[in-house]
Symmetry: C2
Subunit: 450 residues, 2 copies
């Protein structure tokens, strides 16, 4: 490091001091000698902006301020770390920091997914660094590999379990056989779900992360509004059981994919929904509150990244990694690789995106039923990959309180890939058939080799 | 990228054109527009150095040369990619390239593990980039996360399955119950083992990778000579069976660990050996020729990186990722984060390193045997975690052709952590006891929470 020693310390402003901020503060203090060695200059905390200073006895009083904008503008601030979360006031504060040439490190996925292009543009115009490893999958080093390690390859697909709360709930439903409502209740009791779990269980959090991942993987601006989203509230014990019978398990997936249409045009599909994946898929064994992201690229093949997706210390670890990178860039007098959007691919609407479905039906047990059902699929140009018919005393029937020994049978159908809209109308039409007594489970299937 | 467009292309010299080199050439050609967009300048291949030009019809004739040193020295060469492998002539060529200020991208693990310090010093003195993501675990983005993403954290342990050949053999032995020799033969037939498999099965390849990983994780120069090494040739069907009975599986592990002695001094331990790990450990499910590396850090917790560890295309993907990074650094007029060795921790000899052992013994079936065996452990200050005794017709006995119904019993012992030398003398002493008829299996255990 002999050539790059710089006498002036790197000044850091910390915005926010909640669960993550406190851990950042701890690491900054405990690791200060290590950080200095890694950066090539001392790292000095200039101030900590919070709303209620009296609630922060852990921060030296002379560092506390309620005026974040003033803190950012102080002389000697090189890097701004934002761990406030949410859109306002984080957005104007970070834009001001970037415009003033400060490097920015943020863990704010909602802000990046909604206002990413504006922030990237401000960073680019000012020649300032904008790093956000902590925004997706917490401590898992993921954005840097996507942005840098795979920069010479062509990523075709990113499939992630990126929300710990929903993965905890689905893992618990899978092992206990319990329903959604009672499992959510248990997750809340154990601290794995927030008092208002909407952002997690309805897939908003995963959709923000999908937007960020798709932007990086495909060099295209993708915002959360571009991401198709379904949550897990409709996942039933019957769905989980149906998956188990097919050698599958249900996961809430964030999927970012290159889709080529029949005319050869390349699109980006970004979507979040619960889906059945084979139990042999590397993502299937990711249990509890862990996160993992499965990446497929032309030359690299299949890669997986696994770790803790949330929590104060893991998120702070990612923030500190970014801090060291931005600080090193400043010591060297430069900045890191920029975001890029040169590919600028169009976003594929969900209806046109090829997906595969699993459908379980309770049907009347009489000849010709399969033919009627198959005709509905054929009319929608949906091709069937596998079908299985079982007798009327199936556990689907029992689960749904059908009269025992009644004249029913269960039909389980898995389709080939077809446009999602076609699959959806097929299911709608099936529900209306006289011979179909009940649609027991409908769920997309993912994770097969395509 | 508006501020950083540079007119002059980035010139690349390719040294070697074997399995990896051909894939690098293919990606450079097929992805040239993408690469230019990602780098901010065109990437131009200046020449390809090979030993026998006539064997390379895939390379345009005007690019071929047999004089690698001359190619490196040509005007217009910014970056040298080395995929020759081995120490000579790669070492003097890369030193010359670095001294001339060329950026270097290499996949050469043997060279880095043996001569890393010399190369890092040359890169540092010249202010040139030296990148080598492809040297460990092929396409898996691992070095960059260790070096950059976790730069603000404190890594405590790195445990890796980093050799595909041995993992293929051990996975096959685990599923078939077959012995080592016949499984190696099958691996050779299927192309998973080289004609001379020594470097793989004796752990030399894994030891090179352990040296590189330990250097990065602990900011200390570690060379392959510092790595304790045992291969898999001694792993028997009895070992695999013993592991299975303990809910474990056998993997060849590269382990890099911080060890604190009783005086509080911090050491680095780097070692490669087959060990039993719990089947519930994330590494246990890594099968076939896949690689995976499990990283534990103070704040980030447990992380895992998984993917293809070898092969032309996956390795080329990692080389191209490095090429883009080095090229971007040159476009920006700087260079990336350097290696660092500021921690400079001493290397812990294996004898003093705490490990845990599993021992299975065939013993005489009479009172007082357990007491005698336990006394040997106690005399070496080795504490026993678990012991299990089973009757004389155990399958260990059958497997070893002990006379059926003979006066034998099996003792299975798992120890707590103790210095490896103490464990080794314990086992030596046990083998000499009158009451011990046979030492059926001795193997280290890893992967417990410490």
């Amino acid at each position: 490091m002999s050539r790059s020693i710089r006498v002036a310390p790197i000044g850091v402003a910390l915005l926010g001091c909640g669960t993550v901020g406190r851990e950042v503060l701890r690491l900054l203090t405990e690791q200060s000698a290590e950080l200095a060695a890694r950066v090539g200059a001392a790292v000095r905390l200039v101030g900590v902006a919070v709303r209620r200073p009296r609630r922060h006895p852990e921060v030296p009083a002379e560092l506390l301020t309620t005026d974040a904008a003033e803190l950012i503008s102080r002389d000697g601030v090189d890097i701004v770390i934002e761990v406030i979360g949410g859109i306002e006031p984080a957005r104007p504060l970070l834009l001001a920091a970037l415009r003033a040439g400060r490097g920015v490190v943020t863990a704010n996925k909602a802000l990046l997914a909604e206002c990413g292009p504006e922030l990237y543009a401000a960073a680019d115009a000012a020649g300032a660094d904008l790093y956000f490893e902590a925004a997706v999958a917490g401590a898992i080093p993921l954005l840097r590999p996507l942005r840098e390690s795979l920069a010479g390859d062509r990523i075709t697909r990113v499939t992630g379990i990126v929300n710990g709360t929903t993965n905890f709930i689905l893992s618990a439903m899978d092992s206990s056989g319990a329903g959604y409502a009672e499992t959510l209740e248990e997750a809340s009791r154990l601290g794995y779900a927030e008092a208002d779990p909407t952002a997690d269980v309805d897939g908003y959090d995963a959709a923000s992360k999908a937007a960020i991942l798709a932007s990086l993987a495909f060099h295209t601006r993708v915002t959360s509004a571009d991401v198709y989203r379904e949550g897990i509230a409709e996942v039933s014990a019957a769905d989980i059981l149906a998956a188990r019978k097919l050698g599958r398990t249900v996961k809430l997936l964030a999927i970012c994919e290159r889709v080529v249409d029949t005319a050869g045009t390349e699109w980006v599909s970004a979507r979040v929904y619960p889906a059945m994946i084979p139990r042999s898929h590397p993502l299937a064994t990711v249990g509890g509150a862990y996160n993992a992201v499965f990446v497929e690229a032309d030359a690299a093949g299949a890669l997986m990244f696994y770790g803790q997706g949330a929590g104060g210390a893991p998120t702070a670890s990612a923030v500190l990694g970014d801090l060291v990178a931005v600080a090193r860039n400043r010591v060297a007098g430069g900045y890191g690789p920029r975001e890029s959007a040169y590919a600028d691919l169009p976003i594929r609407p969900i209806g046109d995106t090829p997906t595969g479905y699993h459908v379980s039906l309770e049907v009347l047990d009489r000849p010709g039923v399969l033919a009627q059902v198959a005709r509905v699929f054929a009319e929608h140009e949906v091709s069937i990959m596998a079908v299985r018919q079982t007798g009327g005393t199936s556990d689907y029937a029992l689960l749904n309180n059908a009269e025992p020994g009644g004249a029913g049978a269960t039909l389980v159908i898995v389709t080939h890939l077809a446009p999602d809209a076609a699959l959806r109308s097929t299911v709608g039409k099936l529900a209306g058939l006289d011979v179909v007594r009940d649609v027991v489970s409908v769920m997309r299937v993912e994770g097969e080799l395509r």
